[in-house]
């Protein structure tokens, strides 16, 4: 398939709403079975939270949606991950284009050891965009959306590593937004941050859901209840319960879910 054609596949799917779907997904790391057959649909333009104790497979599961597990040694999977009914593990999928559509924010802020400007412009530059004016505008608008612009506008050439942890994480979100993805995966984005930075990022996530489909892994139950529309509870590689956040936190169907959210284990 030619490059243009691949892009048109992605383009045409933008018009439809982005819908994520897992079909009987199993994952192994060598002999260890990390995901034991999970099927679920994730609704577009909503925030979906993945909760569960450490080692339950929620991060592994999240990383299937932009194929970030591809580089992990011993990783093997079975089943289907579909984005708008297209299996993203098919041979004709260009994984780099996929990752531009499915952005990711990581647990620990991981800005490149480059300037603030270069960090935000990185994704556009690797796509071959060179127009300086366009890049500058996009850097500014992305930084404004994460409410970082006022803090850094005077010194965009400052090394990103000189920013505080909370600023770095907002920079990483801005970097992801700059390439205009449709889906954003967040892997415990606030676990390394102080409460004030956490509040800023939660507010941001809340604002972003109008335009994006957001999936967030979190260890923080209050966070899940504050910002998500739907919540999925994972335990030992299985999806135990998946429902409206309100329902999960007030009246869960399963005993295990209740035990976890009330803090009896995990």
């Amino acid at each position: 398939m030619s490059k243009e054609k691949k892009e048109s596949v992605i383009e045409s799917s933008i018009k439809r709403k982005y819908k994520l779907q897992a079909k009987d997904v199993k994952v192994w790391y060598d002999d260890f079975m990390a995901i034991k057959g999970i099927s679920m649909d994730i609704k577009p333009n909503k925030v979906t939270a993945f909760i569960g104790p450490s080692g339950c497979g929620k991060s592994t599961f999240l990383r299937l949606f932009n194929r970030m597990n591809d580089y992990v040694d011993g990783f093997k999977m079975d089943g289907e991950i579909n984005i708008d009914d297209k299996n993203i593990n098919d041979k004709d999928i260009n994984v780099e284009l996929l990752r531009k559509q499915v952005g990711m924010v990581f647990q620990k802020p991981n800005p490149f050891p480059k300037s603030i400007y270069e960090n935000v412009a990185y994704g556009l530059k690797i796509q071959g965009l060179k127009d300086k004016k366009f890049l500058e505008e996009r850097v500014e608008s992305s930084l404004k959306r994460v409410a970082l612009w006022d803090e850094v506008k005077d010194d965009l050439n400052k090394n990103a590593l000189a920013l505080s942890g909370g600023q770095q994480q907002r920079l990483c979100i801005a970097r992801t937004l700059a390439v205009e993805p449709s889906i954003i995966l967040m892997d415990e984005p606030t676990s390394a941050l102080d409460p004030i930075s956490t509040a800023k990022i939660e507010e941001l996530i809340y604002k972003l859901k109008d335009k994006y489909t957001i999936v967030i892994v979190t260890h923080n139950m209050q966070q899940a209840s504050r910002i998500s529309d739907n919540t999925a509870f994972f335990y030992l590689g299985e999806l135990i319960e998946y429902d409206k956040t309100n329902k999960i936190f007030t009246n869960p169907e399963k005993q295990q879910t209740e035990n976890y959210i009330t803090g009896r284990f995990g």
């Binding site: 952005g103 990711m104 620990k108 991981n110 490149f112 796509q127």
Partner: protein, 292 residues
């Protein structure tokens, strides 16, 4: 009893540390004293500007430039060959190769540095030079080109191994960031990994240069023994190290001016490698501060 044992061990360790320092100071002292007595007979200006080096002839000239040009030329050829090759290997091993392959190939590559340099010297003279002569007609039997290239092969593992260590030490979170943004492996390697590991890579190159400048056997065997101020890679030259070997092996009288030239040449070499090591030490210190 235990306390005495501890004390003895502590003193023994201190003693061995002092020995190495004493030896270093001794070497510098001997070099300086002999070089000083050399420079009381030959003006330092002549030493640095005279284009000829003929201390063993009746018409004596003491211009270090012609030896230095031999050293710089062979080192330059070696580096020009080893940097691209060594860097490509390190990027391949760190960013492309499967883990198991890296674990096998890296020690094998490091073997290259363990081959005795005299073997490399004969390899350059008997294999590489005749091979190059088949398409460079004017190439003399002794030349800096093949000596430089073979020296390049010898220092490849210095660059590939140390650069690979530097690339490997870049936090994995940066790799994930790069891939997460939709980088290809190539973009990840050159736009994120190499810049992030740049100080370690530069240190590896400086150490390789330092090794090339100090290398003796290969150039003594394959580059010839004709001091000549030239940057033509096809003609015989003599490096500082090769000259030192030549004089040390010959029947030059002890304490003669000819004998002292060894130390003048030696201190020149020492200044170069010392500077390079200092630079690499500085860079390494900066690098550690950045990631700790």
């Amino acid at each position: 009893m235990r306390k005495i044992k501890e004390l003895v061990i502590e003193r023994a360790l201190l003693f061995s540390a002092l020995i190495t320092i004493a030896v270093t100071i001794g070497i510098i002292l001997v070099l300086s004293i002999e070089a000083f007595s050399f420079f009381s007979e030959v003006s330092i200006i002549d030493f640095l500007t005279d284009p000829e080096w003929t201390p063993l002839f009746t018409n004596k000239h003491f211009g270090i430039l012609s030896l230095l040009s031999g050293t710089l030329l062979t080192s330059f050829i070696a580096i020009a060959f080893a940097v691209p090759v060594g860097l490509s290997i390190s990027i391949y091993l760190s960013e492309y190769a499967p883990k198991s392959f890296r674990r096998t190939i890296k020690p094998l590559l490091e073997l290259l540095a363990a081959v005795p340099t005299v073997v490399y010297g004969f390899f350059a003279l008997m294999v590489v030079t005749p091979f190059l002569q088949s398409f460079i007609p004017g190439l003399s039997s002794f030349n800096s080109l093949s000596a430089g290239l073979v020296m390049g092969i010898m220092i490849i593992p210095y660059i590939s191994s140390l650069s690979e260590d530097a690339l490997h030490a870049v936090p994995n979170s940066l790799r994930e960031a790069a891939y997460g943004m939709g980088s290809t492996r190539l973009q990840n390697s050159f736009k994120v990994m190499v810049p992030a590991a740049s100080s370690g890579i530069i240190v590896s190159i400086i150490l390789a240069i330092s090794r090339a400048i100090g290398e003796t056997m290969i150039v003594a065997i394959a580059a010839g023994q004709q001091p000549r101020l030239t940057f033509d890679p096809t003609v015989p030259v003599e490096t500082i190290t090769a000259y030192i070997v030549q004089v040390s092996l010959g029947d030059v009288q002890h304490d003669s001016l000819e004998y002292k030239t060894i130390f003048a040449a030696g201190i020149t070499l020492f200044v170069f490698t010392f500077l390079l090591n200092t630079i690499s030490y500085r860079i390494r210190k900066k690098f550690q501060e950045k990631y700790e």
